[in-house]
Symmetry: C4
Subunit: 124 residues, 4 copies
């Protein structure tokens, strides 16, 4: 299959709640960047995290193998440093191959569950 | 009415929870691809499912008749094989006529209900 | 302010639950098309509703005055005919002036509240 | 990092519920415009609020510093005047530098929590 997508993406919304009382890892509050690489070559992606009141941090480096999807939890990013909780952030993705990026947040702070998602902004 | 839409679409997010305790089929956890074919010719759509750690599966073939909408549950896809539960996936749609694709998830795992939706990524 | 937006929009997702037990009109289950006309001339919008298994119905006609927003509930559409409940549908908007269209669903079927929104698909 | 985004954005959906019974500021009902300025120059943004039945109000002026994100609550806008509660509105953002805008609503009216988000409409 021919590659589909773009090489530069941005997600302006970002926020990981401090505390949750999860039943399981699946239901723990988290933010996810869903990346799809439908093409025939591995995509090397560099993620930069932007904050409200300090310099950007990154790049975080991940690989989305050819013809695979990677659903990356921002909670799991560790190198160069974890993303602080209860802090506004935003993210930019730069890939060497076309990918599609979609953003999801699961919020389990209340007793009920809230989900949100949106396709990220793709730059030309 | 003139056709509206594109012929290649991608949804990077995909996840069908394993278990739910549905009151009804309407409230069972599911993921849906809403397709609209506003044009005058039937649209033949091939769907490919991408995974994190195995080869893509497909195509699944569906037809969206002229001037009709089809709200397809990923849960119902069976041929060539059902989509496993509790598994990250992504999807690509290739149509021979312009269509519009929107993605919805209803999550009834907790006692409350969570809905999410986004318009899919349309490739040029 | 200069006009912003497009003249053709599509929302592939559409579904109004049959029953809800609303506290108020604000919390009744509904689907809304939020339209913004930032320009200096009234926008005359024709809406067509598409179904899975019957011919499209329309046009429904609404006007978004110059420099105004109109948040239209699909529940309230009546002429030429109301939209049936518990039925999949999709919608296309054609305007004589550029507008922006965003789609929201509030679902109050369960005891909790679920909201979803997405910007509609804008055709070129 | 090279700037990413556009200079004109619109959010057709806007609504701040009148009353909520918040546990905390984090869980109070609110609408947020998440703005990302990934470029090297400060972005000066003018926001105009559109209503259903009165003239637009604005501009509200905010600055998104270079290489920063700003998650702005519509609830907090005060000059030239606050946004009334329980009122439909829409918003347009005009920036002198490319930015990315995403819209989020947290609704805590019921006992549970509802979140919605979408990337705003970016005009060419």
């Amino acid at each position: 299959m021919k590659a589909i997508g773009r090489t530069r993406w941005a997600i302006a919304e970002g926020y990981i709640p401090e505390s949750s009382d999860p039943v399981s890892r699946q239901l723990e509050s988290h933010e996810t960047a869903c990346m799809l690489n439908a093409g025939g070559r591995d995509a090397h992606v560099e993620i930069t995290i932007f904050y409200a009141d300090r310099d950007p941090v990154g790049p975080y480096r991940v690989t989305v193998p050819a013809r695979r999807t990677l659903h990356l939890r921002f909670n799991d990013l560790a190198d160069p440093q974890p993303i602080p909780r209860d802090t506004d952030y935003a993210s930019v993705f730069v890939s060497d191959e076309p990918i599609v990026v979609q953003h999801t947040r699961l919020d389990s702070r209340p007793t009920a569950l809230a989900l949100l998602t949106t396709v990220a902004y793709a730059d030309d």
